[in-house]
Amino acid sequence: MEAGGWTNLKLQIAERASTQYVHLWSGLGSFTNNPMGIHWTGIVFGLAMVISTGYWTTDFLVVQRVLAAKDLRSAEIAPIIGAAFKMAVPFIVILPGLIGLAVLPVKLVPESVARITGGHSYNDVLPLMLARYCGPGLLGLGVTALIAGFMSGMAGNVSAFTTVWTYDIYRPFINRKGTDHHYVNMGRWTTVIGVLISVGTAYLVMQFASIMDYVQALFSFFIAPLFGTVVLGMLWKRATGWGGFWGLLSGTLCSVSMFLWVKHDPSALRYVALSPHAKGLAQDMYQALWSFITCVVVTVVVSLVTKPIPESQLTGLVYGLTKIPSVGKLPLYQRPIFWAGVVMVVFIALNIIFW
């Protein structure tokens, strides 16, 4: 309303910054035509194919909800509901940023610059917009909602960390003979340690240009190679344990090495992201892509030179050797495939509208 509608908002952004801030795809033909300094190949293959798909299929925070579903239909519909809400995120996160770009009297700068000059960084845009529009009472509710959102994400991640450590690492590899009481205690202590590690990582975030840059860098380190391992493990019966191990390790090392290389020598970004005009987020996307490719290649090569696992041991683990249960006969509006179609149509429409 303050900006004067979507058309006026676009005009103001064009005056103060660039028209490319309100487009998804039209500036991705070249590294220099968009604020992210990225090419469409980085978005399609790095972000969409590797990071996003990896996040939805391997991030334990997401997967644990599906694993806890009461039946197959619930498990299938859970990520579809998540995808529907995820499409609203740009309207909650990006739209306030765009409005801030148009109407805020201050110019927002990267975190590193803000620390030196004492100005406001991009990360401050949501609190700034809340303070700008919300009076007494409403401002408190808005801040509470932000903190609640943070706590919810944090709680989910810490519980995922605790579950993975206690169930998948500690119990099978370190102490197989513990009592339930012992494992519950281990889980509680791991929760405390997980919270402390989370607090520590907050200081790590300060080294990055923005929170998004930090998150994407972490995804490229861990999610991207893990996605390669999981996809091959699920779909290819010839994949072996050693193949998965060396693939995952080499993929992670590849990504971390590229990150350290660019940190040590910023001009190396031109080799990682394929252009001298690439910027920080482009590095994360291409880093993820190279890491995924490295993981897949190493997994395939090592698997082919190691002893195959008998098919009888892979039943229930590999797609081709597993009988997939049916969700049964359901009315159209209860079928996951129907809602997946609806989400897909809305997704395509949003991409066309904001092309």
Partner: protein, 68 residues
């Protein structure tokens, strides 16, 4: 068993009542220099009323049923 939505209704209603009260107070005693832009739209009143209405609907709809 008391439904979780009942508690959510209480939370919405209480927050809504407080925000609505703050908005009405500002409506009666307008500040000389409003601290927010678009003050004339009185967002506190509208959002407070909306939260209160939704909260009350949830409170009634999911209220614990009495056993006869």
């Amino acid at each position: 068993m008391i439904s979780i939505w009942f508690f959510i209704g209480i939370s919405l209603a209480v927050n809504g009542a407080l925000i609505l009260a703050a908005g009405i107070f500002q409506l009666i005693n307008p500040p000389e220099q409003p601290s927010v832009v678009l003050y004339h739209l009185h967002a506190n009143v509208w959002w407070g009323a909306a939260l209160l209405v939704f909260g009350l609907i949830y409170c009634v709809r999911f209220a614990p049923k009495r056993k006869s």
